[in-house]
């Protein structure tokens, strides 16, 4: 039931994480998600700062986004990941406006997912 509600936002990697949870490690998923949000805050902050420089360092932006996208992939953050892909396309095209615009989408999806996951973990208690 809850899964259907989360489904658009998460892919099967999230199910893999759940499968790795057991009685001996009952908070594994929440731990991974917590690590993700801690780590991604740092990366998003770096990207935000980098987007303020003029001209943009597209290679640097691409490198940060590659790391961030990797983490998204590891927790199954489907929508966030797809915005990352969009961002990287704009980077490759050296499209500053596209990058800045898409980055707002990335942050939005990232925040939306966080709210959903918080509710999800609370429901499990």
């Amino acid at each position: 039931m809850v899964w259907l509600w989360l489904q658009g936002y998460l892919d099967e990697q999230f199910i893999q994480l759940e499968d790795l949870q057991d009685d001996a490690n009952p908070n594994f998923v929440e731990e991974v998600v917590t690590l993700f949000y801690g780590d991604s805050a740092r990366l998003l902050h770096s990207i935000e700062q980098a987007l303020e420089s003029n001209p943009l360092d597209f290679n640097g932006l691409e490198a940060y986004m590659h790391q961030f996208k990797g983490s998204c992939s590891s927790i199954g953050a489907r929508k966030v990941k797809s915005e990352c892909t969009q961002f990287r396309e704009y980077c490759n095209a050296r499209n500053a406006e596209g990058c800045i615009r898409t980055f707002q989408q990335v942050k939005q999806e990232h925040a939306t997912l966080r709210r959903k996951l918080e509710t999800y973990f609370q429901a499990l208690v």
Binding site: Q16, D19, N25, D39, H66, Q67, I75
Partner: protein, 192 residues
């Protein structure tokens, strides 16, 4: 029976020790869990430099002699890491006379064929596209432990911890247990 003690020692020594290298804290936690759930001992480090230090190859001192408890049976490393990347780490390991027999698996979120080929040519056993699956770990583990079973059955006195050296000498024609795989298996699976 006099071999009873040896049998139980062999069972304990069958726990594979995997060194996981990844700059992402999320990925380290994930891979560590995959390995632990597969009954492997895990050491997870954040960089190639740290990995080399752990392996006793940090450039300042010579390779340390057999500290059996810390013997590494498999190295799983991310490709894209700041500083020394996975490919450079792979090269350093394969250039070392003491470490070159340890199987190295590369993990990458990007399925780039030239990258895959380069890694395999440099001596990587496999190239796994992230996210790594439990089935990947189980497969690697089965391959690594298969070679050892044959050897122990022949000689019960060989109750040494499982090491790539043991595997290398037990294989008939090839120096790596991964040669049991056909070439296709080394190619990354296409992610859906």
């Amino acid at each position: 029976m006099s071999t009873a003690g040896l049998v139980s020692r062999r069972d304990c020594s069958h726990q594979l020790h995997v060194l996981a290298v990844d700059d992402s804290v999320v990925d380290r936690k994930f891979v560590e869990r995959l390995l632990k759930i597969s009954s492997c001992k895990v050491t997870a480090v954040e960089s190639g430099i740290r990995a080399l230090q752990f392996l006793g190859l940090d450039g300042e001192k010579k390779e340390t002699a057999g500290f059996d408890g810390l013997k590494v049976n498999l190295i799983m490393t991310d490709y894209s890491m700041p500083g020394m990347n996975g490919f450079e780490l792979l090269k350093k390991i394969k250039e070392s006379s003491t470490l070159k027999e340890i199987p190295v698996v590369i993990m990458s979120s990007e399925n780039i064929l030239t990258r895959v080929d380069r890694c395999l040519e440099e001596g990587a056993e496999e190239f796994i596209v992230k996210p790594v699956k439990l089935s990947d770990v189980k497969r690697l583990k089965n391959i690594l432990t298969k070679g050892d079973k044959g050897q122990n059955e022949e000689d019960p006195l060989l109750s040494l911890p499982l090491s790539s050296h043991d595997l290398a000498s037990s294989s008939t024609s090839s120096s790596s247990p991964f040669k049991f795989l056909d070439h296709r298996s080394k190619r990354p699976r296409l992610q859906g």
